[in-house]
Amino acid sequence: MASRYQNRIELLQGTLDLLILQTLQWGPRHGYGISQAIRANSGEILQVDTGSLYPALHRLERQKWIAADWKLSENKQRVRVYRLTATGKKQLLSERSRWEQLSDAIAGVLSPARRGGQA
C-alpha cells in the first residue's frame, strides 16, 4: 500500500476538472465512484486526493458544468450523484482539445527530433 502512495502523481492544475468531466461522460456517479473510476482507468496511478475532489465537485457544480441529485445506491445508501450538464459537455470538449494541445506540446519538447522527423 505504501508503494501506491509513492507512485502517486500530483495532478496538474486544472486536470482534475477534465478527469471528473470525462469520467461523468460515461454516466452519473457519486463522489467515491468518481475517485474509484479515475484510479481504475489510470491503472491505479492517478490517485485523486479527497481534499481536492470535493472542492472540485462543488466548484464545477457552481459553474453549472455538472449537476447533483440525491439517490439511493445499490446498498441502500443515500448518495449524492453527479451528472454532466449540456454546458459541461461543451466544457469537456474544449478542455480535451486544450489538453491534447498541451500534451502534444510537451511531447514535442521532450523529443524534438521525432517531432521534426514527422514533419
Binding site: M1, H30, G31, Y32, Q36, D49, T50, G51, Y54, P55, L57, H58, R59, R62, W70, Q77, R78, V79, R80
Partner: protein, 882 residues
C-alpha cells in the same frame, strides 16, 4: 443560492456526502480483507483532514464574505452583550441623536421635500397687488379682469377671497368657511371636481346665477356623500345657491391668504358695493399658472407692462399700483423653510456630539482591547479583518441606536406636531415614510462609520510586542490626545447650540415684554352673524338689531365690558381707509391721499380692550347715525399728521363717504401687526369710527358677520357658554363662531418662534448633557492613567490643592479651546437665524458671554468628581499598584 437557511441545509448535505464517502471507502477495504480498525485508519489517513476538506469545499460556494460577516456580527454582538453598561449608554446616546434627526427630518420631508400635490406645481404663482404701504396687497376686481385679459405669460389666472356664511336649512344653523372664487380657480390649480362640474367661464360675473361648489368633507358631513346632491340648493346668508359640484377632500393651498373652505361660490355673488371699484382693497388674492417655458422673471416683466398701461389708463386708482408675483412654493413655505433648516442643522450637531461621545467610549474601551487585537494579529488575523470587525461592531451599535431612535422619533414627532404652530403648512403630511426610513438607515450607517472609524484606525497599528509586553496598556498618549480633541469639538458644538437657544430665549423674553398697547388678559373675541331673515333688512332695522345685541351681551352675567368691532382687530385682521384733511382740496388720485388702519367699533371698545385714552373723549351711544360724524385717532396718527398741534376738533374726510368727521379723542397706539414687526411697518396710523355712523351701504354686509370683543369680569372660562345662551335666546339662527381669547391670539402669533425656542432649548440641553458626560469620561480616564504620577507627586509633598489644579488645568484648557472654536463657529452660523430673532442681534455679546461662562463652569463641574478622586489618591496604594 445565497440565503443563509439554504446554506445550513447545504452544510448538512456536505456532511452526509463526506460521511458516505468514508463509509464506502472503508467497506471496500474490508472486502479486500483489511481489519475494521485498519480500514478506518487507512481511510482517515487517505482522506486527510476532514475539517479542512469541509472548509475548502464550503469556500467553493462563494459565501466566504457572508460567513465572515456573520462571524463578525456574532462576535460583535457577543462583545456588546458582555459590556451591557457600555452598550446601553452608547445605544441610548445614539438613539437620542438619531431619533431627534429622524423626527426633524420627517417634518422637513413632509413640509419641504414632498412635492406639492398639484400638476406642474412649479408653474403656479400667487398673485398680489403692490401699492403704497403693501407689497403684497389685495387685488381689485376690475384690475384682475384687466390683468386676465392683457397678460401674455399665464395660461390661466384666478382670484379668491375668504368669507364666512351663515348656513341655514340643513340641520342646525352654523357658520361655514367659504371662499369667493373666479371661475378658473380650480382649473388653474389643476384640481377637478370629484362629482359634478367646475364653474364655467362667465358664471363668476357680477349678476350671474348663484351656484356653489362644496368640499368633499362638507358633502359627507351634510349629505352623507350622496350623489344626488347636485342641483340641491344651499341657503347661505339667506340666499339660495345651487350645488353644481364637489371638490376633492384633500384640496388645500396651504397659504394664509387661501384658508381651507367648505363652500366655494363665484366672486360675482359678493354683494359688497366696493367690489366693482378699481381702488378697493378687499382681501382678494390671486393664483396663476405660467405658460410652459415662461419664467417668473418674464412674467414679472410682462405684468409690469400690463400694470403700467393700467396706471396710465386709470391714474386715479392705479398710480403706483402693480402686480406682484411669488412662486407658490415660496409663498407657501418661505416662512417655515429657514426655521426648519436651522432646526435640522441644530439636530445634526446633536448627533455629531452623540457620535463623538460614543467614539470616546469606544476609544476608552479600545485601551482594554489592545491586547485582544494584538493576540488576534499574532494568530494571523489581517489588519483589514480587524478593522472590519471594529466597524461591524460600531455599525451594529449604530443600527441598534437607529432602531430605537426610530421609535423615539415616531413618538417625538407625534407629540411635537401637537405643539406645532397651527399655521405650519402641510403638517398633515408629516410621518414616517420610505424616505424617512432610508434617511434614518443612512444616518445610522454613517454615524456608525464615523464614530467607529477613529478608534478603529487608532487600534490599527498596535506595536505587537510592546502591547503584549505592557499587559495591554499600549498606545496611550495618542489615545488621550484624540479624546481631548473629541471633547474640544464637542464643547464647540454644544456652545453653538447653546448660543442658538440663548438667542431664541432672549428673543422670546423681548417679545413677551413688548406692550401690545392693550390689556389682553380676560378679553375674548368672537364673530356673530344675525339670523338670515336680517340679510335683506333695512339699515335702520339692522342698526336696531345691533343695539339689541349690544344691550343683551352687556347684560350677560360675567361680562364686564363689550364692544362690536367690524373691520380690523389687533393681531387678527386689518382694514384700511384713505382720507384727506378737512379744508384741503380732494387729492386727484387715491394714491395722493393718506392711509390709515381703521377700527369700526362700539362705544365700549376702549374699556373692553384696555386701551388708554390720552386726550379728549371716546364715543358714546349718542354718537349715532343722527349725530355729527366723529372719530378718535391714536398717538401715532396724532404725531404723524399733527406733530405738536392739538388734533382735537380737526376734521378728516374719508374717500368712501366724502363726509367730514371730527377728531374728538386721542388714544394709545395698538400693535396691529403683531408684537414683533409693528414698529417697522409703513402703515401704523390708526383711526376709530363708531359702528352706528357707518353709511347705510355698509349695513347690508353686517348681518353676515361682525366681530365682538368682551372683557370678562373675572375670567374667560365659561364666559363663552353664557354668551352662547344669550345669543340663542335672541335667535336660534344667530350663529356664534371663531371664539378665541386675546391671550391665545397673541400666544399663537409667537407659536413658530416659541416652537423653535423649545426645540433649540431641548437640543442645546441634550448637547450640554452629552458633552459634560464626555468631559467627565475623559477626565476620569486621565486621572486613572495618572494615578501613579499623582501618587509620586503627593509622596514628594504636593498638596491636595496642587493635585486639583493639575487635573482641572487640563479641563480648563479643553473648555477654553472649545469655547473659542465654538464662538468662532457661532459668529458664522447664528446669522442663519437672523429672521427668527427680535430685539437681539445674531451676535449678541451678552448671550455669547453668558453661554461661554456657563459652558466653562459645566466643564469644570464635570471634571470636579474625577479631580476629587485624584485628590484622595493615597501615595502608598498608587505606588504599590504597578
Amino acid at each position: 443560492m445565497k440565503f443563509p437557511w439554504r446554506r445550513d441545509r447545504k452544510q448538512q448535505e456536505l456532511e452526509q456526502e463526506l460521511q458516505t464517502h468514508l463509509k464506502m471507502a472503508a467497506s471496500d477495504l474490508l472486502e479486500r480483507g483489511e481489519s475494521a480498525a485498519r480500514a478506518q485508519q487507512a481511510v482517515r489517513r487517505e482522506f486527510g483532514n476532514v475539517d479542512l476538506v469541509r472548509q475548502v469545499t464550503r469556500d467553493q460556494w462563494g459565501w466566504r464574505w457572508l460567513e465572515e460577516l456573520l462571524q463578525d456580527l456574532r462576535y460583535g454582538a457577543r462583545m456588546l452583550r458582555k459590556n451591557p453598561g457600555f452598550t446601553l449608554v452608547a445605544v441610548l446616546t445614539l438613539a437620542l441623536g438619531i431619533g431627534a434627526n429622524t423626527a426633524i427630518f420627517s417634518v422637513v420631508n413632509g413640509v419641504l421635500l414632498n412635492p406639492l400635490p398639484y400638476p406642474h406645481a412649479e408653474q403656479l404663482v400667487t398673485l398680489h397687488e403692490s401699492k403704497p404701504n403693501f407689497e403684497f396687497g389685495s387685488i381689485s376686481y376690475p384690475n384682475f379682469r384687466d390683468w386676465q385679459r392683457d397678460n401674455r405669460s399665464f395660461s390661466s389666472m384666478a382670484i379668491a377671497r375668504r368669507i364666512n356664511f351663515s348656513l341655514t336649512g340643513v340641520g342646525e344653523a352654523e357658520q361655514v368657511r367659504a371662499r369667493y372664487i373666479s371661475s378658473d380657480f380650480f382649473s388653474t390649480v389643476g384640481v377637478n371636481p370629484v362629482l359634478g362640474r367646475d364653474f364655467a367661464p362667465g358664471e363668476d360675473e357680477i349678476g350671474a346665477a348663484p351656484i356653489a361648489l362644496i368640499s368633499a368633507g362638507f358633502w359627507k358631513r351634510k349629505f352623507g356623500s350622496s350623489p344626488d346632491v347636485l342641483g340641491k340648493s344651499l341657503t347661505l346668508d339667506g340666499r339660495n345657491y345651487t350645488i353644481v359640484g364637489v371638490v376633492p377632500a384633500n384640496f388645500d393651498l396651504f397659504l394664509k391668504s387661501f384658508q381651507l373652505a367648505e363652500i366655494y361660490v363665484p366672486i360675482g355673488q359678493w354683494n359688497n358695493p366696493m367690489l366693482p371699484k378699481r381702488g378697493a382693497g378687499l382681501g382678494v388674492h390671486g393664483i396663476a399658472r405660467l405658460k410652459p417655458g415662461v419664467s417668473i422673471e418674464q412674467a414679472r416683466a410682462d405684468m409690469g407692462e400690463v400694470s403700467r398701461n393700467l396706471a396710465a389708463a386709470f391714474p386715479d386708482d392705479n398710480k403706483g399700483v402693480a402686480a406682484s408675483l411669488i412662486p407658490l412654493r415660496q409663498d407657501m413655505l418661505g416662512d417655515v423653510q429657514p426655521i426648519l433648516l436651522v432646526l435640522l442643522a441644530a439636530v445634526a450637531f446633536v448627533l455629531l456630539i452623540a457620535c463623538v461621545n460614543v467614539a470616546n467610549l469606544l476609544l476608552a474601551r479600545s485601551a482594554g482591547r489592545a491586547r485582544e487585537f494584538a493576540i488576534r494579529t499574532a494568530l494571523g488575523a489581517g489588519q483589514g479583518r480587524i478593522l472590519r470587525q471594529l466597524l461591524t461592531e460600531s455599525i451594529l451599535l449604530a443600527l441598534a441606536g437607529g432602531a430605537l431612535g426610530l421609535v423615539l422619533a415616531q413618538w417625538g414627532t407625534q407629540s411635537a406636531l401637537k405643539h406645532l404652530p397651527a399655521d405650519l403648512p402641510r403638517a398633515a403630511g408629516i410621518g414616517l415614510d420610505a424616505r424617512v426610513l432610508i434617511f434614518t438607515a443612512v444616518v445610522s450607517l454613517l454615524a456608525g462609520i464615523l464614530f467607529g472609524l477613529a478608534p478603529a484606525l487608532k487600534t490599527r497599528t498596535p506595536k505587537l510586542q510592546n502591547t503584549l509586553k505592557e499587559g495591554g496598556r499600549g498606545a496611550d498618549t495618542t489615545r488621550h490626545r484624540a479624546q481631548s480633541v473629541f471633547v474640544v469639538v464637542e464643547m464647540a458644538m454644544a456652545l453653538v447650540l447653546l448660543i442658538g437657544a440663548g438667542l431664541m430665549i432672549r428673543t422670546m423674553t423681548h417679545l413677551w415684554n413688548v406692550d401690545p398697547g392693550f390689556r389682553p388678559q380676560n378679553v375674548m373675541t368672537f364673530g356673530i352673524s344675525l339670523p338670515p331673515s336680517m340679510m335683506n333688512a333695512s339699515p335702520d332695522a339692522i342698526r336696531a338689531a345691533l343695539r339689541e345685541l349690544d344691550a343683551r351681551l352687556a347684560a350677560t352675567p360675567g361680562v364686564a365690558a363689550m364692544a362690536q368691532t367690524w373691520e380690523a382687530l389687533p393681531f387678527g385682521y386689518d382694514d384700511e381707509r384713505v382720507f384727506w384733511f378737512d379744508g384741503q382740496p380732494k387729492p386727484a388720485s387715491q394714491n395722493d391721499m393718506n392711509w390709515t388702519i381703521d377700527y369700526v367699533v362700539g362705544p365700549g371698545y376702549l374699556q373692553t380692550m384696555g386701551i388708554p385714552l390720552q386726550r379728549g373723549r371716546f364715543f358714546t351711544a349718542q354718537d349715532n347715525e343722527h349725530a355729527p360724524l366723529v372719530i378718535a385717532i391714536d398717538d401715532v396718527f396724532a404725531r404723524k399728521y399733527f406733530g405738536s398741534q392739538n388734533p382735537l376738533g380737526k376734521g378728516i374726510v374719508f374717500n368712501d363717504t366724502g363726509k367730514r368727521a371730527e377728531i374728538v379723542g386721542v388714544v394709545g397706539h395698538v400693535h396691529q401687526w403683531g408684537l414683533d414687526s409693528d414698529d417697522t411697518q409703513p402703515l401704523r396710523a390708526q383711526v376709530y369710527i363708531p359702528c352706528m355712523q357707518m353709511p347705510d351701504a355698509y349695513m347690508a354686509m353686517v348681518p353676515s358677520g361682525i366681530g365682538v370683543v368682551v372683557r370678562a369680569a373675572n375670567n374667560t372660562a365659561g364666559l363663552l357658554d353664557s354668551i352662547r345662551s344669550t345669543s340663542r335666546q335672541m335667535s336660534s339662527q344667530q350663529v356664534l363662531f371663531g371664539a378665541l381669547t386675546m391671550d391665545q391670539i397673541i400666544s399663537d402669533s409667537l407659536a413658530a418662534r416659541r416652537f423653535s425656542m423649545i426645540l433649540l432649548g431641548i437640543f442645546a440641553a441634550l448637547a450640554l448633557l452629552l458633552s459634560s458626560v464626555g468631559i467627565y469620561g475623559v477626565i476620569s480616564y486621565l486621572v486613572g492613567q495618572r494615578t501613579q504620577e499623582i501618587g509620586i507627586r503627593v509622596a514628594l509633598g504636593a498638596r491636595r490643592w496642587d493635585v486639583l489644579r493639575l487635573v482641572l488645568t487640563h479641563s480648563v484648557k479643553m473648555a477654553v479651546l472649545g469655547v473659542l472654536i465654538g464662538v468662532a463657529a457661532s459668529l458664522a452660523l447664528t446669522r442663519l437665524m437672523d429672521k427668527m430673532l427680535y430685539g437681539v442681534s445674531a451676535t449678541d455679546p451678552f448671550t455669547f458671554l453668558a453661554v461661554a461662562i456657563v459652558l466653562t463652569f459645566v466643564a469644570l463641574a464635570a471634571s470636579y468628581l474625577p479631580a476629587r478622586r485624584a485628590m484622595r489618591v493615597d501615595p502608598i496604594v498608587a505606588l504599590r499598584y504597578e
